[in-house]
C-alpha cells in the first residue's frame, strides 16, 4: 500500500521545511533541523554555531513525523549537541594564545531523529509499491538504530556516572630505577586541592586515616599493605588543610594511573610533582601499561596521602 501523504523532495532541507509548515507545533524545531542539515560538516558530522546550540538548549521534545502523525521523544537538551573541542583547537587556544569561536555538533540521537524525519517523507511519498517497500524497510532499520542508540546512551550513563578528575598528560618514560610516578607540578597541585579530589582522598597520619566517607577505605589500605587501625570521617575543611600542606619531602602521595583508552591495566604508585611535560612512569611499568613516548595519553588520579612517611613504589594491577 502507498500513502502519498506528502510531496516528493529532492533535498533534505526541503523535506524539513515542508515538515515545519505541516506541523506548526514543531515548526521551530524543524527549522533548526533544516539549518543543521544545510550547514557545514566536518568529517561527515554536521556542525553548527552557538546560535543554533542556544535554540537547541530549549528543546525538550523531538518530533518523529510519520504519515501526518507525530510521536514525541522526550529529551534532555544536553543530549542533543556537544561542543567540538579538537586537539588542534586546544593547542591554538592554550599554547598559541588565539581564540576560536565555539562550534557544536549534533549527537547521534539528534542526527538519528533528523534522519528519520527525512526518511519518513520518502516512505510517505513513494510512487510505487516497490519503492514503498524499500523505503519502509530502510525506515524501520533506522528506527532500530535509534532504539539501539538510546540503549547505548543508557548504558554509558551508568558507566560514566563517576565524578572523577585526573591529571591528563602524555606518557613519559622515566628510569626504571626510580620508583615514583612523576606528574606535572602545577596540574597535580591544582587537582589535589580541588573539590573532586577532596571527596575521595584518604589522608593517613599515624594510626588514623582521615576521609570524607569511609567506603572501601579499609580494604584499599590493606591491599596496599598499609595497616591503619582507625578510620575517621572528617569534614572537607580539615581534609583540604591537610592536602594544602603536603610536604613532598616528608609525606607520600599515592596515585592511580589509567592508560587511555583501551588497555585496562592500572598502575599504582607513589607520586612526585616535577617540572615534566607529561606523566612519568618507570620503564618496567610502562611496558606493562603498553605505553611509550609517542603521544599516548594517560590519566593520573591522586588517592592517598601518607603523612610523615616516605615510601617509594610503583606497581601495576598485573602483578
Amino acid at each position: 500500500m502507498m500513502i502519498n501523504s506528502c510531496p516528493r523532495f529532492r533535498e533534505k532541507a526541503e523535506a524539513l521545511s515542508w515538515l515545519a509548515s505541516a506541523v506548526p507545533e514543531f515548526e521551530l524545531t524543524y527549522r533548526i533541523f533544516a539549518e543543521i542539515v544545510n550547514g557545514d560538516q566536518i568529517n561527515g558530522i554536521p556542525v553548527f554555531a552557538q546560535s543554533i546550540a542556544d535554540q537547541l538548549s530549549r528543546v525538550t521534545e523531538l518530533p518523529l513525523w510519520f504519515n501526518n502523525e507525530i510521536v514525541r521523544i522526550p529529551v534532555n537538551p544536553r543530549s542533543l549537541f556537544w561542543e567540538v573541542d579538537t586537539e588542534l583547537d586546544d593547542i591554538l587556544e592554550s599554547e598559541l594564545e588565539i581564540e576560536i569561536a565555539p562550534y557544536y555538533a549534533a549527537t547521534s540521537l539528534l542526527n538519528s531523529v533528523i534522519d528519520l524525519n527525512i526518511s519518513s517523507t520518502f516512505v510517505c511519498s513513494s510512487l510505487d509499491e516497490r519503492s514503498f517497500k524499500k523505503t519502509l524497510a530502510i525506515y524501520e532499520e533506522k528506527l532500530d538504530q535509534l532504539q539501539a542508540g538510546i540503549l547505548k546512551m543508557a548504558a554509558s550513563e551508568i558507566s560514566e556516572a563517576y565524578m572523577i578528575s585526573s591529571v591528563r598528560a602524555r606518557h613519559v618514560t622515566i628510569n626504571k630505577n626510580h620508583r615514583n610516578i612523576y606528574a606535572p607540578a602545577q596540574q597535580l597541585g591544582d587537582l589535589l586541592v580541588s573539590d573532586s579530589s577532596i571527596r575521595h582522598m584518604i589522608v593517613i597520619d599515624g594510626d588514623y586515616a582521615y576521609c570524607l566517607h569511609a567506603d572501601g577505605v579499609e580494604k584499599i589500605l590493606s591491599k596496599l599493605g598499609l595497616s591503619v587501625p582507625n578510620i575517621v570521617e572528617c569534614g572537607r575543611g580539615r581534609l583540604l588543610y591537610m592536602l594544602e600542606n603536603i610536604d613532598f619531602n616528608k609525606d607520600t602521595l599515592i596515585s592511580h594511573v589509567f592508560r587511555h583508552p583501551i588497555i585496562g591495566y592500572v598502575a599504582i604508585g607513589t607520586t612526585k610533582p616535577a617540572e615534566i611535560y607529561g606523566i612519568g612512569v618507570p620503564a618496567d611499568v610502562s611496558a606493562k601499561l603498553d605505553g611509550d613516548d609517542d603521544g599516548d595519553i594517560i590519566d593520573l588520579v591522586p588517592s592517598i596521602v601518607v603523612k610523615n612517611k616516605v615510601m617509594e613504589f610503583v606497581t601495576t594491577t598485573l602483578n
Binding site: 568529517n43 565524578m163 591528563r168 602524555r170 618514560t173 622515566i174 628510569n175 588497555i263 611535560y277 610502562s286
Partner: protein, 399 residues
C-alpha cells in the same frame, strides 16, 4: 594568531576493487559513493608544508586518497593495477592503503626523497601521515645554513626533501644515558620509551608559520619524527650550551638527543644518513645517492660508518657517542599540554580490573544520580516502540 597552521587541499580519490580475483584501482568521484560527506572528508585533506606537493602530484594522477565510504556499485572492470602503487609509505599506519602513490619501487618517490635509504629500511617504517602533519616552518639562518650545508645529494631530484636539521646525539637505551638526561633536565627521564630531548635554543630557532604568515613559537611538547618512523614526543629540554659534542676538530652544541634506533634496518635511515650529513657539513665529500639502487645503498652503509664524537656535559668529557645531523618532521595536530580532565573509566575497563582484584577504589568516587536520565531513556524507548508498532501495522496492511 588569526591564521591556521594547516590548510585544506583537494586530492583525487580512488577505490580498490576486486575485478575477477585481481585488485584494481579505480579513480572515483563523489557520485560513486553512498554517503558523499565521507567521500568529501577524504578528498579534502588538511595538511601543512607538503600539502601543495601532494595536491600537485594528485592533479597529475600520481596520488590518490582512498575514501572509507561505501561505494554504490562494486562492479568496475577498468582500472589501474594495484601493483603500480605504493600503498604503505604515505598511508596511515592504522589504515594501510588509505593513500596510494604511483611507484615503480617498493617505496614511493616522496618516501625516498625524505629517506634516501628507504629501500633498505624496514618495510613497515615509513613517513606515513607526517607528510600531512608537517606544518610550514621558518628556520633561523643558522639552521637553514645547517640544512643546506648538510643536505644529501640524490640522483633524482638533486637533493633530499626538506626537513628540520638538528645536531643529534644517538644514545643507547641504558642507565648511563638516563643518568646524563637526569643531570641535563633535572628529571629522571629515560630514552626507553623512545622519547626525544631537545635543546631550548634549537626549538626557538623553529617558527611555525600560519596561513596569514604569522610566526609562532613551538610548544613545549610536540611530536617529531626522523626517518623510518623514529617518532617520539619531546620529553625534556636543556640549555644548548650545557651539552656539546666534539667531532674531529669541531665543537658543536647538541640540538637533539634520541636513542640509537634499535632495529638494524632503521639504523641506516637515521644514523648513516645523519652521519653522511655531518661528514658533508664538516667538509668531506660524500657520494651522490641513487635512492633506487639497493646495492649502492648497502655499499654506502659500509663506506660511511657512523660518525663518533665526544660528548661534553657541563664542560666535562663523558664519553664517545654516535653523532650526526638528523632531519626531522613535526606534528602539531595534538594538544600535548597536561590538563585536568575526566578519565573515561568505561573505556579503560578499570571497573572490571578493580572487580577482579577486589579493590574497591571506584566506591570512593562520587557518582552522579542517573535515575532521572534512565527514566528519560525509558520514555524515549517507549515512544520509539509505539512508532515501531505503528509501522508494523502499515506493513501488515500491505501484506
Amino acid at each position: 594568531m588569526l591564521g591556521g597552521i594547516y590548510r585544506r587541499f583537494t586530492v583525487k580519490t580512488a577505490a580498490i576493487v576486486d575485478n575477477a580475483g585481481k585488485a584494481i584501482v579505480v579513480p572515483t568521484s563523489e557520485y560513486d559513493y553512498k554517503i558523499r560527506q565521507a567521500y568529501r572528508a577524504s578528498a579534502r585533506i588538511t595538511a601543512g608544508m607538503f600539502g601543495p606537493l601532494v595536491s600537485n602530484m594528485s592533479k597529475r594522477g600520481l596520488f590518490y586518497a582512498i575514501p572509507r565510504a561505501e561505494l554504490k556499485s562494486k562492479t568496475f572492470t577498468k582500472g589501474f593495477d594495484l601493483d603500480r602503487f605504493d600503498g604503505l609509505s604515505l598511508s596511515s599506519i592504522n589504515r594501510p592503503f588509505s593513500r596510494l602513490i604511483v611507484s615503480d619501487q617498493e617505496k614511493s618517490s616522496i618516501e625516498r626523497w625524505c629517506n634516501p635509504f628507504a629501500l633498505i629500511t624496514d618495510g613497515t617504517r615509513n613517513l606515513n601521515t607526517f607528510l600531512y602533519q608537517m606544518p610550514v616552518v621558518k628556520l633561523s639562518k643558522s639552521l637553514l645554513n645547517l640544512f643546506h650545508r648538510s643536505k644529501l645529494e640524490l640522483s633524482t631530484p638533486k637533493y633530499e626533501l626538506f626537513g628540520i636539521p638538528g645536531v643529534t646525539v644517538f644514545l643507547d637505551k641504558n642507565d648511563e644515558a638516563d643518568a646524563i638526561l637526569e643531570k641535563l633536565t633535572g628529571v629522571p627521564i629515560s630514552l626507553d620509551g623512545d622519547g626525544i630531548v631537545t635543546s631550548r635554543q634549537w626549538r626557538k630557532q623553529i617558527k611555525v608559520m600560519t596561513t596569514l604568515n604569522e610566526e609562532l613559537d613551538l610548544p613545549e611538547t610536540f611530536k617529531l619524527q626522523g626517518a623510518a618512523r623514529s617518532k617520539g614526543i619531546t620529553i625534556g629540554s636543556f640549555e644548548a650550551n650545557r651539552l656539546l659534542v666534539k667531532v674531529a676538530d669541531h665543537i658543536l652544541p647538541v640540538d637533539v638527543v634520541m636513542n640509537t634506533q634499535g632495529k638494524r634496518k632503521n639504523k641506516a635511515a637515521n644514523m648513516t644518513a645523519a652521519g653522511m650529513r655531518m661528514r658533508k657539513f664538516l667538509g668531506e665529500v660524500v657520494d651522490r645517492i641513487d635512492t633506487t639502487n639497493i646495492e649502492q645503498l648497502i655499499a654506502l652503509k659500509e663506506k660511511y660508518p657512523v660518525v663518533r664524537g665526544t660528548l661534553v656535559l657541563d664542560g666535562e668529557e663523558i664519553g664517545e657517542v654516535v653523532v650526526g645531523i638528523n632531519k626531522f618532521y613535526l606534528d602539531l595536530t595534538h594538544n600535548m599540554t597536561p590538563r585536568i580532565a575526566k578519565p573515561h573509566i568505561s573505556y579503560i575497563q578499570a571497573q572490571q580490573v578493580f572487580d577482579v582484584l577486589d579493590y574497591p577504589l571506584l566506591s570512593r568516587f562520587e557518582k552522579r544520580d542517573v535515575h532521572e536520565d534512565l527514566e528519560l531513556h525509558d520514555k524515549q524507548l517507549a515512544a520509539v516502540e509505539s512508532l515501531t508498532n505503528r509501522i508494523a501495522l502499515y506493513r501488515g496492511e500491505e501484506l
